[in-house]
């Protein structure tokens, strides 16, 4: 990424000599890179043949850490986290601890053989769902996520809606995650949410609570696409040119710790994909998790961080600044 000014220098220009965590509220757990889909934008290059999977003793360690440090929120991701053999065990135990559980769901996994009961399981354990749906039209969704993905996603959404997920006033939270289907930035989040709400209801009778927009990170499969299509330089240039200092206060790395399938700790899932560990001197493995040390840790930065600070910003919880 030699075409843009180093991200750390850009931060220095706006007064951050070092970017530090503020308050760690979330443990984001990547249970493994196995997925029933192979999306073209995936920063982890997840897919059905990926062997990476969290070992049972590390699943126990997640529970110990969440309990010992009274972490208010655990965010489960992958791959498809539901494909981990101990997924339901983990969710059940976390529910018992009273932790807020977020699970990032690709929707189609809910139709996989043996997984059809999951919507009820989610409901019974108060799991908040963040479901990937890059558009309300078949062509665009299938282009990114593979043939048939859209129709399966609709079926999964209908099943969730029937259980109360996504319904107005319901506590069963069903939020959608949008990412662009190409080398361009996501739309303004509020406007797109209104458009999705109107079109998903009108075309498919689907309801949801909130829509989050996520910019495609120039890493993993998406970086490969950018390079193959000769969009890489332009995309990186636009990311850097769109740097917005107002996004820095809310960057997700400042409020979470990411743990990989092998127990290694990272500042975020993107650093995990790049193998960019926590800075030297910090606890490096789940077994060494030390909340006071991690809560004000310096963040390990790279030029991909421009992806979280461009325009209105981008995170696992959507935009970070006013649009």
């Amino acid at each position: 990424m030699a075409t843009v000014a180093p991200f750390a220098r850009q931060l220095e220009h706006v007064g951050y000599r070092e970017l530090k965590a503020i308050q760690v509220q979330t443990l984001q757990v990547n249970l493994g890179w196995r997925c029933n889909q192979s999306c073209k934008h995936c920063h982890l290059a997840a897919g059905p043949d990926r062997p990476e999977m969290m070992a049972p003793d590390l699943v126990e360690e997640v529970l110990l850490v969440a309990g010992r440090w009274s972490l208010p929120e655990v965010d489960l991701t992958g791959g498809a986290p539901e494909l981990h053999p101990r997924f339901e065990y983990l969710v059940g135990r976390l529910h018992g601890l009273g932790v807020r559980i977020l699970s990032r769901c690709n929707l189609t996994v809910l139709l996989e053989p043996g997984k059809e009961h999951l919507p009820r399981f989610f409901r019974d354990h108060g799991v908040e769902l963040i479901c990937s749906l890059p558009y309300f039209q078949e062509e665009m969704v299938d282009r990114v996520r593979g043939p048939g993905a859209f129709q399966k996603s609709l079926e999964a959404l209908h099943r969730l809606n029937r259980l109360g997920y996504g319904q107005p006033g319901s506590d069963l939270k069903l939020n959608l995650m949008f990412n662009p289907a190409g080398a361009y930035f996501p739309p303004e989040q509020g406007g797109l949410q209104a458009l999705f709400r109107r079109e998903l209801e009108r075309r498919h009778q689907v309801r949801f609570h909130r829509l989050y927009t996520l910019l495609n990170m120039p890493i993993g499969r998406f970086r490969h696409y950018l390079q193959q299509s000769r969009n890489y330089e332009g995309y990186m240039g636009k990311l850097a040119a769109s740097f917005n200092p107002e996004t820095v206060a809310g960057l997700m790395c400042r409020r979470l710790v990411s743990v990989a399938w092998d127990g290694r700790l990272y500042d975020c899932d993107f650093n995990q994909a790049l193998g960019l560990p926590l800075k030297e001197g910090m606890p490096q493995y789940l077994q060494d998790f030390d909340l006071p040390a991690l809560a004000s840790r310096p963040i390990n930065l790279g030029d991909h961080c421009y992806g979280c600070t461009a325009g209105a910003g981008s995170s696992c919880g959507g935009k970070l600044a006013a649009e």
Binding site: Q137, P180, G182, Y184, P186, E188, G191, L192
Partner: protein
């Protein structure tokens, strides 16, 4: 230069302001005001701009407003319909001149 249009020119647009900065600033302020959300959304304005770009056959504007439309959440179905609107109006504008042709013919016909 072996061609008249260069896609790099779009990024050089501000250079137009070099010899007449005041007028360029007037234009830029007006342009930004027009394209901001108002009674129409940014997405609707981008689709109008895309249609006009085709009507005036500006390759820079087509590139720019294809991207802007996608980034505003529009899809290829909507964008193609917008292009057809431009085509229909341009076609209709040509066709209505057929009446001028008929009058001109009548003037010189027995």
């Amino acid at each position: 230069m072996s061609h008249y249009y260069d896609d790099q020119d779009l990024e050089r647009f501000p250079e137009i302001g070099k010899h007449c900065p005041e007028l360029y600033d007037y234009f830029l302020n007006y342009y930004q005001g027009v394209m901001a959300a108002g009674a129409l959304t940014v997405r609707e304005k981008a689709l109008i701009a895309l249609a006009v770009a085709h009507a005036v056959q500006c390759p820079y504007c087509i590139d720019a407003y294809t991207r802007v439309s996608l980034e505003a959440g529009s899809n290829l179905e909507e964008m193609t319909e917008a292009v057809h609107v431009a085509v229909a109006i341009r076609g209709g504008a040509a066709l209505i001149h057929g009446l001028q042709m008929q009058r001109a013919a009548a003037k010189i016909s027995i």
